[in-house]
């Protein structure tokens, strides 16, 4: 078991395709680190460099304190679970799991013992004589896990191992992988594009975009304090509502101007955040869907909205709300195309399943003033002062 360190690691494909750009990341011994991001963000390339399947253009990569930039995959003592499982189709489950041990020259008895132990952990004992094609998706996934754990490697590398499973099985295997990782206490780097997997499985989550690390934090910190607009929009389902507005000062204090409406901003934000000057270039305002509630009456901390769409999910309802002005027309909210992330002109609110809202309803909604987020309009960075 060992810690893993990326130190300024860069990968350039061809002449100028910068897949991973100056990645610095530390994975502690026994830690479950999730690399998450959209397609093409460089997360898989980073994992493949760690496995030794891709050369490193620059920077230093260490496993257990040893620099492994020029170490062959077979000598890195890491185990990898591939997206498509990469099970050897002509071998049985037992042979698949024991292949690495056999290559390392262990005796048949030792191989059988270790394979048996791993199979018991993964509940695969009854399937050891089967070929991969005779297994279900979940069983194949467990065999791929078994092939990794049977070696007792220094680190587990997992490249979207659940993406080929159906939704129900994915939830089961999510728990299973987390259980096994905790049981074995091996440093794990897990790549996914699914932010729910990232949030539920990782001790820490590293969000990547365009080859660059955006933020690495615990799931809750990522959710509560996104460092930039991208992280705010990527983490959470549905993601944070991001609207462009401007700040103004009036008799009752600071207010956020969204189209023709004004929303009171608690005074503590002036100290906890580096807010732009009043009547300045504006600000991107963020609020989570669960921080929006329906009010009976209007107030300074509420907005007038109209229900545009209603998505019933069973346990909750997602309500899409368009901001309206005082006479009920849709309000104009700046939606600058080509921005870091899309900034829609509607808010999405989570409501209880019994909420009797219908499309076309005019709703007065309150945004939880304790959980406002502000981002710079140009850089997209959070304006929150670091504590």
């Amino acid at each position: 078991m060992a810690e893993i360190t990326f130190d300024g690691v860069t990968k350039i494909f061809g002449d100028d395709i910068r897949a991973v750009d100056d990645l610095s990341l530390h994975v502690a011994d026994g830690e479950f680190m999730v690399l998450v991001g959209p397609s093409g963000c460089g997360k898989t390339t980073a994992l493949r460099m760690l496995a030794g399947l891709e050369d490193i253009t620059s920077g230093t990569l260490s496993i257990g304190g040893s620099v492994v930039n020029n170490v062959l995959p077979k000598d890195r003592d890491v185990a990898m679970v591939f997206q498509n499982y990469a099970l050897y189709p002509h071998m049985t489950v037992a042979q698949n799991m024991g292949f690495a041990l056999k290559v390392r020259g262990l005796s048949k008895a030792e191989v059988a013992k270790k394979v048996g132990e791993a199979a018991a952990i993964l509940r695969l004992t009854d399937y050891l004589d089967r070929r991969p094609k005779a297994l279900s998706g979940g069983q194949r996934q467990r065999v791929a896990m078994g092939r990794a754990i049977v070696r007792s490697p220094q680190a587990f590398l997992m490249d979207e191992p659940l993406s080929n499973l159906d939704a129900q099985l994915r939830v089961e295997m999510r728990l299973e992988i987390a259980r096994i990782q905790r049981l074995l206490g091996v440093a794990t780097v897990y790549v996914t594009h699914d932010q729910i997997e990232a949030m539920t499985m990782g001790d820490r989550v590293a969000v990547m975009r365009g080859g660059k690390l955006q933020q690495c934090d615990t799931p809750q910190d990522l959710y509560d304090h996104p460092r930039n607009e991208f992280v705010a929009g990527f983490m959470g389902s549905p993601p944070m509502n991001l609207l462009r507005g401007s700040l103004e000062s009036n008799d009752s204090g600071l207010a956020l101007v969204l189209g023709s409406q004004r929303l009171a901003v608690p005074s503590n934000y002036a100290t906890s955040h580096q807010l732009p000057k009043v009547d300045g270039p504006g600000v991107v305002f963020g609020v989570r869907p669960e921080d929006i509630e329906v009010l009976e009456h209007s107030g300074s901390d509420s907005l007038s909205t109209k229900v545009e769409r209603r998505e019933a999910l069973g346990a909750e309802i997602l309500v899409h709300l368009a901001l309206v002005d005082a006479v009920g027309n849709d309000a104009f909210v700046v939606n600058d195309s080509g921005a870091v992330v899309s900034r829609p002109t509607t808010l999405v609110a989570k409501m209880g399943p019994r909420s009797g809202v219908s499309v076309g309803d005019q709703l007065q909604v309150r945004l939880n003033p304790d959980h406002f987020h502000f981002f710079d309009t140009d850089s997209g960075l959070s304006l929150r002062r670091s504590s």
């Binding site: 077979k74 990469a86 292949f99």
Partner: protein, 307 residues
């Protein structure tokens, strides 16, 4: 006064007594669709085989045939040329492993994307696009006493060594075998390259991470994956060996010296068209057909394939 409105008879949708069930209709359709293929097979394979069996019991000069019974059969098996041709076919089978191993090695190297692999791929495939008659002519010039092979040997400084492989009974078959291997390289290399292209690269990557080196990956991952392609190449090569060598032999050696390079296929031609004994030639054709069939069935059984 009441009127009675006649009620029309309720239409019935009971199936006709003779209407076929869906299963039987499907079976019938299957037979109908298979009929053209069956007719072609019967016309172009079944009938000629039947004719060959018939003519093997006749004395046939190509125009008129006279029934002579099984005497052709008893005489044929006392003919030493038949046994020589069968032995030559057997010895040429020894070239099959080379006709598989060399293309396999080339394909694996090309698959590694070595420098210039596209050019090499075209070069190796070239023999496939050239008529075997032309290849035979080139090979004949290569192995001739004043041919390319001796020029190369002399250029390497071994001027005291000269070969004439096609001129000696003991070496002509080897030259033929080498030429046959050369002609099969393109086809088999392409076949193996196709097989390698279907190999999931993540399997190799998984094996690398599992600690396997290049040889181990080839032996444990690549070769098992290619087994079906190797089976196919094996069957195609053996069939070519038994039934497609005629043009090479005709151009390179004419079956000689003596009968040193006469195979069953060439013996059929020799007996039929040079000696005008089509009845015996038909019998030899049947023997070749049976041998090819047995080899085909045995090799499929050996490699455990039912496809």
């Amino acid at each position: 006064m009441s009127t009675t409105i006649p009620i029309p008879a309720t239409p019935t949708f009971a199936p006709k007594a003779r209407r076929m069930t869906l299963k039987r209709r499907r079976q019938f359709a299957g037979v109908v669709f298979a009929l053209p293929a069956i007719a072609l097979v019967v016309c172009f394979i079944g009938v000629p085989i039947g004719q060959a069996v018939y003519y093997s019991f006749t004395q046939w000069n190509g125009l008129t045939s006279t029934w002579i019974g099984p005497s052709t059969w008893t005489q044929a098996f006392h003919n030493t040329n038949l046994w020589t041709a069968l032995r030559n076919n057997g010895l040429l089978l020894l070239s099959v492993p080379f006709a598989l191993a060399i293309p396999l090695g080339i394909a694996v190297l090309l698959h590694q994307r070595v420098a210039g692999w596209r050019v090499f791929r075209s070069i190796y495939f070239l023999p496939t696009a050239i008529s075997w008659v032309v290849l035979g002519l080139v090979a004949e010039r290569f192995f001739a006493y004043q041919g390319t092979l001796n020029s190369i040997i002399h250029a390497l400084g071994f001027s005291h060594i000269s070969t004439n492989m096609l001129g000696y009974q003991s070496e002509a078959l080897i030259a033929l075998g080498i030429t046959f291997v050369f002609t099969m390289i393109g086809t088999n290399t392409m076949l193996f390259l196709t097989g390698l292209a279907t190999l999931d690269p993540s399997l190799e990557e998984a094996a690398r991470i599992d600690g396997a080196g290049r040889w181990r990956i080839f032996r444990s991952i690549t070769l098992p994956h290619l087994s079906r392609f190797i089976q196919l190449a094996f069957v195609m090569t053996v069939i070519a060996l038994f039934s497609a060598l005629f043009s090479l032999i005709f151009v390179m050696t004419g079956g000689g010296p003596g009968y040193a390079t006469t195979t069953m296929e060439f013996l059929i031609y020799e007996t039929g068209f040079n000696q005008g004994d089509f009845g015996t030639a038909a019998l030899y054709g049947l023997i070749l057909f049976v041998i090819t069939g047995i080899v085909g069935v045995v090799q499929l059984r050996l490699i455990g394939s039912n496809e």
